[in-house]
Symmetry: C2
Subunit: 530 residues, 2 copies
């Protein structure tokens, strides 16, 4: 039996605070997971959630899968009724997936206090429901909810749930750390005991970990080291409370650290792309510090390291970042100093090494601006403009100069909300005044600026504001709060760049970032590259 | 030997992207760590960082410590010079801390390629520097940089660094997973081998893990299970790349899962407070999903769970949340349905259970608003206003009604940026027009509203806008982006409340949240409680 990479982003992962997928979102996430090469995609709980019923219906025609098997999730039959009479069981059959995953209580306390039935009836529910789906030709996985807590409290009962499911024909019985309190050494010990007690090989067992001890990834890896072949994870570790085991970290650890072939060839380098795309669909900012896939996962800040990295990058990364589709990145920060700034400039194709005075001046300006809340870590385009402004031989001509602007937001008596901006700028010797409306103050400013510049710079028509981020920086020790704005701009050719602005006034901070965005996009180097 | 909880938030943790502490910040973080009961606080690298030199100078008079020993960090002497002539070593002595932590290369490849010296000279550097500080009466810890990679590549050389340091008088030699590529099983194996090879007890060893495999916490726990007593962590896992082992998760796992007494009595329940306070000083939004301390660490969303939790909360949490100073929380979300909304209302002291029609209407409105980008998960005050507006017998009178507002931001020719707002409202039958300036559009609106209302509601003078968060929600599939604003308000009596506003225009979204904030603060229930 090969490894079963089982993803439950769309079911258990959807319980993360703040996530709410549409059916279209779910189809898009499933496509990405399939491209990443997972073996199983648990799509939802048909019957319990109307959206999930629709998802499975549309999946039949809209979701051709290369690698994955689609799985519908459900529960064992209700107590006291025949399995064929259970509406939820019928809805699960109607999803028409090749495989189903059934959740069963495996902690006797939950059986008695939450389900309010007997241990014997719970075993009958497990048996009947598993046998029913096996008879219908489905592959059946059984999730033992609260497995580890149950096993600790009453190992004999919890083990009997496992053996009942196996006897009824379940392909894999999954040990779920539902409350998330486990540690790797305890996972290892419990699996060893269970295998002995039930007399079943660990390859018939699965693992599903929650991250409440911050050990979900390690617990999953420990289970695989103990012989388990089926592991349930979610993309980026999304899930209830502190979340689930992160699919990407688990897969990378198994494949790259333990050398286990868990993904099809060519899939591992999709990791960063798939992770970030799913974050976008989930509408959660990607975690910069996430292992393997975070933008900072291979980012080096310390001056000490940055100077040594120039000598030998391989000694300072635990893996070659491109294997998972990531990059090494040098951060421009006050701790880094000249070495990092020189290295970062080199990444951008600029030779500061040959101009020590310019390097000193850029370093001084970066440190000074960062002390006032600026951050160039995510704003390469603003950093490049800053470096070019100090490099000898670079043109310092700006495409336009601001005289003044005015933005107004009005909530009128009839309830309408209207934003309007007027900018006065000088472009190639001409004074231009332009006014435009927008759906907010920054959008109105952006529009007015485009109206003012479009005759002189027709390329602007292809620029689009793709993302806009606002961060309020608390002024510590009595000073006022300041606002940092990041603007991401794309052009028609697939290029994108990020710029930054900082000010106590959010509109002025946005203005700085917008001006940098247009200045960068209209620079000779960018126009030549297009 | 008891456990050594060693915190390096202020040194290694400060290398996290985005962190930049002032000296005052560092003193404040150190005080919090001491209140939390850590045994050692590594304050920085005197000599290498001017800020750190100042920190240690001020710490002598401004940092009386109850529990912790202050540690200064530095490196072994440079190659080819006498230890007494090394400026960096002298700066470390001048910090006058009871203990020092010295970093040494322990991977022969780093010795040869980064330090550009011989293995023998590196051992002499370790010996001389350790012996020098021991002779000066300091406790000495030695950090073996790249220990695990080095040990794997050339176990004999790496082990010789360890034994050299022990022989020279180091109290503890710390195995650092500098590149962060380890897994728990490998940590366990390496410690077992090292102990045998060097002939030193594991209690003379320390552990320092980076989180590049998402296993830093588990690796640290595995080392302690293998007999290590000294573990280096950072608050909230801050650190370079994916960060360090999170102090809070490590301590909670050791104390609550393994029953090891690592903290003084009474400290564990400070965990959430200390974690969030350090996040605030570091100017990083607390991670909602962090194990143990996150706002969502014990938050239940699934309708399935929410209904069972009403029966028996202890079965659904891996620990009692109050042990670490956290709370169980029920989230109001579209997945939760009536049971969660009823439970949440009960938390707020409102009886929806007795009013099924009101419960249905609140559920319907919440679902509908959440579909349009609203989120009540963090905005209890807005949720309470919504529930009260549906409950029979509650007063639905609002303290004021808006007629219109207008906000203007101007960047003038002289460079000045000015924000001004005018509001027109009806208060207790009177029409009031007020204008005010602010340091940004939202601040100007807030000020104008206060001017308009202050004569009728003098309590307003004590309200203060404590935090303001902006989130741009990407409209998926072609719809425009919308903005969600959270406003936290405090009054003079130590109460605080959070409100939410959503609109495509950031100013209008902020207006909604501001209006809810004042309406809630001026409600009869709040006035009665004050």
């Amino acid at each position: 039996m090969t490894f079963q990479v089982y993803d439950t982003t769309l079911r258990d992962g959807a319980q993360r605070e703040g996530i709410s997928y549409s059916v279209v979102d779910k189809l898009a996430v499933a496509r990405l997971l399939d491209e990443f090469g997972v073996g199983f995609i648990e799509g939802g709980w048909p019957g319990a959630m109307p959206k999930d019923t629709e998802f499975f219906a549309r999946a039949r025609s809209e979701l051709p899968l290369k690698h994955a098997v689609l799985v519908a999730f459900g529960a064992t039959r209700k107590a006291g009724i025949a399995v064929a009479d259970d509406r939820q069981v019928r809805a699960l059959l109607d999803a028409e997936t090749p495989a189903v995953c059934l959740v069963a209580k495996s902690d006797i306390r939950h059986v008695e206090r939450a389900l309010r039935t007997s241990g014997a009836e719970n075993l009958a529910m497990v048996h009947d429901t598993v046998a029913h789906f096996v008879a219908e030709g489905r592959r059946v996985f059984l999730d033992c909810e609260h497995f580890f807590d149950g096993y600790r409290h009453d190992p004999a009962y919890t083990a009997s749930v496992v053996s009942t499911a196996i006897e009824a024909g379940a392909e894999v019985v999954v040990m779920c750390d539902t409350n998330g309190g486990m540690l790797p050494s305890r996972v290892t010990a419990a699996i060893g005991e269970l295998v002995e007690r039930v007399g079943v090989g660990p390859e018939r067992l699965g693992i599903h970990c929650q991250n409440d001890t911050s050990c979900a990834v390690a617990n999953t890896v420990a289970a695989v080291e103990a012989g388990v072949k089926h592991f349930q994870c979610t993309a980026n570790g999304y899930g209830e409370r502190p979340g689930n085991a992160d699919l990407f970290a688990v897969v990378a650890n198994l494949q790259l650290k333990l050398g286990l072939p868990v993904l099809p060839d060519g899939c591992l380098e999709q990791m960063v792309r798939v992770s970030h795309a799913i974050a976008e669909i989930a509408n959660i900012a990607p975690d910069t510090h996430q292992a393997y896939v975070g933008a900072a996962a291979f980012a080096h800040k310390a001056g000490l390291h940055a100077s040594a990295i120039k000598v030998d990058p391989v000694l300072y990364n635990h893996i070659e970042p491109s294997i998972v589709g990531n990059d090494m990145r040098i951060l421009v920060t006050e701790m880094a100093g000249r070495a990092s700034i020189e290295l970062k400039s080199r990444e951008l194709g600029l030779d500061l090494a040959g101009h020590p005075e310019a390097l000193s001046e850029v370093t001084r300006r970066v440190k000074d601006m960062e002390a006032h809340g600026w951050s160039f870590e995510a704003a390469d385009a603003s950093f490049e403009l800053l470096v070019r402004s100090e490099l000898p031989g670079e043109s310092t001509a700006r495409p336009f100069a601001l005289e003044s602007y005015r933005v107004q937001v009005e909530h009128r008596e009839d309830g309408a909300v209207v934003s309007e901006a007027t900018v006065k700028v000088r472009v190639r010797g001409e004074r231009v005044i332009a006014t435009a409306e927008g759906n907010g103050p920054v959008n109105a400013l952006d529009e007015a600026l485009r109206v003012a510049l479009r005759r002189h710079y027709p390329a602007l028509a292809h620029f689009e504001l793709a993302d806009y981020k606002v961060r309020i920086l608390e002024g510590s020790h009595g000073s006022g709060a300041i606002t940092r704005v990041l603007v991401e701009t794309v052009d028609g050719s697939g290029r994108d760049w990020t710029t930054v602005g900082v000010h106590e006034n959010v509109v002025e901070a946005s203005w700085h970032a917008l001006v940098d965005a247009l200045t960068y996009g209209l620079s000779p180097a960018q126009i030549a590259a297009r």
